[in-house]
Amino acid sequence: MKPDVMIRIALLSLALAAVPAGAAIDIYQFDSNAQQDRFHRLTEELRCPKCQNQSIADSDAEISQDMRERVARMIREGHSDEEIVGFFVARYGDFVSYRPPLNAKTAILWVGPLSLLLLGGVGIVLLVRRASREAEEDDQ
């Protein structure tokens, strides 16, 4: 196939993007662009309680729609981000937020990798010390 034909095909396949119409675009009236940004951010942070691991922004289940409506309403009413997320967490549990809370049971999420970093760092220091001694012996 000639190069310019290939390029045209590639560009054409880039020009149109198929998305199932399920994921709808909601138009909510906000007072400002900043509010709309908050809406986008919050709906990406909240999880649809019954879907396959999707945020309420991505999912078009009815419950997602209802939740989006409530988020929009709460933004207009002037609630803070914490209040909005807290509202849903109070009713659906921590599961509904994509920000896991920090408590005794979830601590390992952070403690784990951090411990690896720390222990690995210590390990490297010890290793380097030994290797350094060996390098000096090599030189002698």
Partner: protein, 657 residues
Amino acid sequence: MAAELGHLSLWVALAAALVLAIFPLIGVYRRVEPWQRYARPLAWLQWLALTVAMVCLGYSFYINDFSVTYVANHSNSNLPLGYRLSAIWGGHEGSLLLWGWMLGGWTALVGLFSRKVPLPMVVRVLSVMGMIAVGFLAFMLFTSNPFDRSLPWFPIDGADLNPLLQDPGLIIHPPMLYMGYVGFSVAFAFAVAGLLAGNLDPAWARWARPWTTVAWSFLTVGIALGSWWAYYELGWGGWWFWDPVENASLLPWLAGTALIHSLAVSEKRNLFRAWTVLLAIVTFSMSLLGTFLVRSGVLTSVHAFANDPSRGAFILGFLVVVAGGALTLFALRAGRLKGQGGFKPVSREAFLLGNNLMLLTATFAVLMGTLYPLLGEVLDVKVSIRADYFNGFFVPLTLVLMAILVPGMISNWKRQDGRPLLRRMLMLAPAALIAGFFGARLPGDTPWVGTLAIMLALFLVFAHLDDTVRRSLAYNRGFWSGLGKLGRGYYGMVLAHCGVAVLVAGVTVVSFHEVERDVRMAPGDVAEVGGYRFEFDTLSEYAGPNFDSRKGHFLVSRDGRPVTEMNPEKRTFRASGQVMTEAAIDPGLMRDLYVALGEPLDGNAWAVRIYHKPMIRWIWLGALIMALGGALALTDARYRKKLGRGKADADGEVVYE
């Protein structure tokens, strides 16, 4: 007929793999060389049988043989030919066949390109790969046979390929990914072969490295393609979701990146050998783990294959045998792999240790976040984990990695004088700081994290350009002649590292400066997004081959000058009634524009979503550059010439025959 032939071929392949796994290996232990010589031909036989199987499956799709259950589930007589054929890997069973076929191919190629490697070693490597193939083939033949027929009844027409998969992305994304996953089995095989032998020829790393690099390059491309595909097909402008299936592909990539850097040390200096062997085992285990996660139903994801716990159990068992076996062997034999040689605290080796630490911490964090829901079931906790957690680790680790990349690249092996190193970095720093400051501020206010990332990216690029100039001048033959002497391995590294900088720049800019607006627009309305003016000109209707479409016509201009026209559509497919949104994307190197029609509103207005995404293409471009760097590096002359055995000199440096 074709299905039966394909099925038979799978049995032949299994037989070949079984013999390959056992017979030549006995020849090694009993020192019977003629038996060892069977390894390569057996590898070819296995691959041949698998090729026949692939062709048979493809043929079944081609002729629309819906009596084959897999074909009926994933195809349709109206499906265009390209998708009918790529539907081979559109579902679980067929994608396993693809895995197996690629594994067979890699096995045969390893046999082909290892003429100078001692035969017993080659046999061990091929046998291990044969053992892995046995697992996959058994899995297919006993639980997931793509050639099962549903006779005596069969559907008149197929269920069709999932519409979301009817896209060019399906044709290339899985094959690229699988080339990566499967390719890491070669490094694994070399590692286990070394453990089996009880000693590692100092040249071991040079044998293993090109295979690992090419697998890594393919995986890089595969992941980038997945991201790009999700962007325009699924994600409403998102390009990475930290979804479990995506993470499953990132795990072997992160471990694999650590591996290729560790191999660099082992190739040059006969050090870190046990560590590199361990990394090779871990990387391939991550590939298998990913396969498990995606097919077992253990994690919830929209991208997962249809889940089946019994299949999950088989894969888990397989993973336990492969990884558990290799790690046990490692525990028992690692002591024999000690290298020799030392290095000072400021040296390339030390910085590469830092590289490995950052990458492996990232791997662990991704693993932790992905698997935590399982742990949560045990702890009676239900939480959800996504971008917030993962970015919390990934971002700082990446920044630190980039920061140590530069001194690591500049430093000499074994020892590097601190003063010249510091001087070079301080010379480059101001340029990076200033350029980064302005570069980050150009699109608007950027948080300090983003500014830092841009500065580091620029620092990285400047440092590499500077290094290239210095090295070529060091030959004292003039700049251009010096450039020619630098070798593809070096240029590959420079390219790959610059690719990282490009990718990071793209991620930073688009993450902090993308704009998304949902607006109510009727024909005649205008919206301003990201400095561009979008005018909803008209709405037209037309009838497609199997759908009816309503098409919006948008005129896009900037500063009064027309830029482009964008035509998002809303398509209603007549047969199913399903409605698809065809968003319009105007791609560009410095920005993407994206317009999609939502629902029709009152009057003749529509809900319209408009995106301005600056520098988003740099993400995939950066990944592509990284992969090209890898590809370039493995064509280095030394892999073509000196591939025999090796010796370590008194200093610990490896000398090749």
